[in-house]
Amino acid sequence: MKEEKQKGEILKILEENARTSDKEIARMVGLEEDEVKGIISELESGGVIRKYKAVINPEKAGIDAVQALIDVRVSPERNTGYDSVADRISRFPEVKSVRLVSGEYDLLIVVEGNTMKEVAYFVAEKIAPLEQVRNTVTHFLLKTYKENGEIYEEEEKGERLAVTL
């Protein structure tokens, strides 16, 4: 029980800042550094921690990539349902995420490319013609306000006094 809590606490710390050192984590959760190392490698090998990434604001980084959300209506197949077509779409490196959703469309995918044209052609040439795909709708992303819980343009914060008793 206690161990589960510590694991959860370590995950929270890493989720907030993956570069927190083992030593600092050990202090915050009240464990030895070696124990923290052990727990983290367990979490890594067990697939709980998939990988460590930086959250980049592409605009500030000067990356001009274009992203689009694509609604895809597909015909499910006998035995595999949506899985085989979803798997097929997932394998394209241009496709950043694939999700099965409820509503008018079945799959919601995110496609990334260098230009709008490139993305549009990719959809037209690789996604739309798939046998199971009935139709698609492409929404180009214009601006990201919040992603993965991070607000991109930080709000203004009032200035705290340096000294209050």
Partner: protein, 378 residues
């Protein structure tokens, strides 16, 4: 007025306030902005036109929520009508409480090191403050026997303030029960400032009025500033027996009329969900451990604080007074800490370091302090 010590080291504070790229561990308020749901509820109330006075007692809805909340957490019931008063911060509630109960010449016992307002407010109310020193050997707890030594025929009340600003000390149920016994025996009143109660990291916070027989004798003070990151809203409350709350209400009615309605509307929302508060509390706890261990590592002996958001390390081994330490640290390494002596004579030899700052700032401050200490400890 002349006898009241204006903060003696104001000059130092002025330098600290102005210094650029200083890291301040001198802060006494959360670094979080008030959670969005609370701000949003306040904005909505303004849009709807809630801009009037409220009842002198405060919004009934807020008093009812508070009554439920206190009962749920501490099993002590306060009637929303007559036993709870909404005030403009705990500061106002504290002043009202003293003015309501203190007769000229009455003695009020308080434990030091403690928050800087207690002593002057007691004097303003015509009382005589009587200090009990607490020390690191007792983990800065107010010991019942030490309290008893200070009781005279003139003693009217005891001010209890745990979790403590500046030490971060907490009292367990047993400690509190021993104090309650003394209070009972001498028929005293207790003003219990529990503003940091939610920020208790080990064990549970015990509300003093929940102890057997203590409800009638306790004026419970609490508010939203620390737990909900709402310092600038100025909203708190007092709960106690009808007679005292009624007396406090009379003063409040004439000097304040009511607490701003916008803050009251926000407070109603604050009580609806504790998710954001709990998130902040767990983050404070991580920082607490980071800072305590860090201070010990750079060579300061530091008692383990279990509440509030302060650490209170000893700087005696540097051979500097706490004021000198703070001044030099500021000038040499640009880190602001508060000399313990500000909080009472027995705070000498200690400094207050707040961990209501980011993990990054804690690490940077510790690094600078480590460098500073190398020069004094070698």
């Amino acid at each position: 007025m002349r006898e009241i010590r204006g903060s003696g080291i104001r000059e130092f504070f002025d330098i600290a306030q102005r210094m650029e790229d200083a890291i301040s561990l001198g802060v006494g308020e959360p670094d979080f902005v008030t959670p969005w749901n609370i701000r949003e509820a306040c904005i909505f109330s303004l849009e709807k036109g809630y801009t009037s006075y409220t009842s002198n007692w405060g919004l009934l809805e807020l008093r009812e929520s508070l009554s439920d909340r206190i009962y749920k957490e501490s099993c002590v019931y306060y009637e929303p009508e007559g036993e709870i008063l909404i005030t403009t911060g705990v500061s106002e509630a504290f002043d009202l409480a003293l003015r309501a109960i203190v007769n000229p010449g009455d003695e009020v016992i308080l434990h030091e090191p403690s928050y800087v307002s207690y002593k002057p407010c007691t004097t303003f109310a015509g009382g005589t403050p009587v200090c009990v020193d607490t020390g690191v050997e007792d983990e800065f707890k107010l010991k019942a026997e030490k309290l008893e030594e200070k009781i005279t025929a003139r003693t009217k009340a005891v001010i209890l303030s745990y979790p403590s600003n500046p030490t971060g000390a907490t009292l367990g149920r047993k400690d509190l029960e021993e104090i309650a016994d003394v209070v009972n025996e001498h028929d005293l009143l207790v003003i219990s400032d529990e503003i940091y109660g939610k920020l208790t990291y080990e064990g549970e916070h015990t509300c003093f009025s929940s102890l057997n027989g203590m409800k009638e004798q306790t004026i419970l003070l609490n508010g939203f500033s620390k737990a909900y990151a709402m310092t600038g809203w100025r909203i708190g409350y007092a709960a106690g027996n009808k007679e005292i709350i009624e007396a406090m209400m009379k003063i409040h009615q004439y000097i304040m009329l009511c607490t701003p309605i916008t803050a009251q509307m926000a407070a109603v929302e604050a009580l609806r969900s504790d998710d954001e508060m709990e998130r902040m509390v767990s983050e404070y706890n991580r920082r607490r451990r980071l800072m305590v261990e860090g201070l010990r590592e750079i060579g300061l002996s530091c008692f383990e604080p279990k509440g509030a958001f302060y650490t209170f390390p000893s700087v005696e081994n540097t051979g500097l007074t706490s004021e000198e330490f703070a001044k030099r640290l500021l000038l040499e390494e640009k880190v602001v800490v508060i000399p313990g002596s500000v909080f009472g004579a027995c705070g000498e030899g200690f400094v207050r370091c707040s961990y209501a700052v980011s993990q990054y700032e804690i690490k940077e401050a510790l690094e600078r302090m480590g460098r500073f200490l190398d020069n004094y400890l070698r």
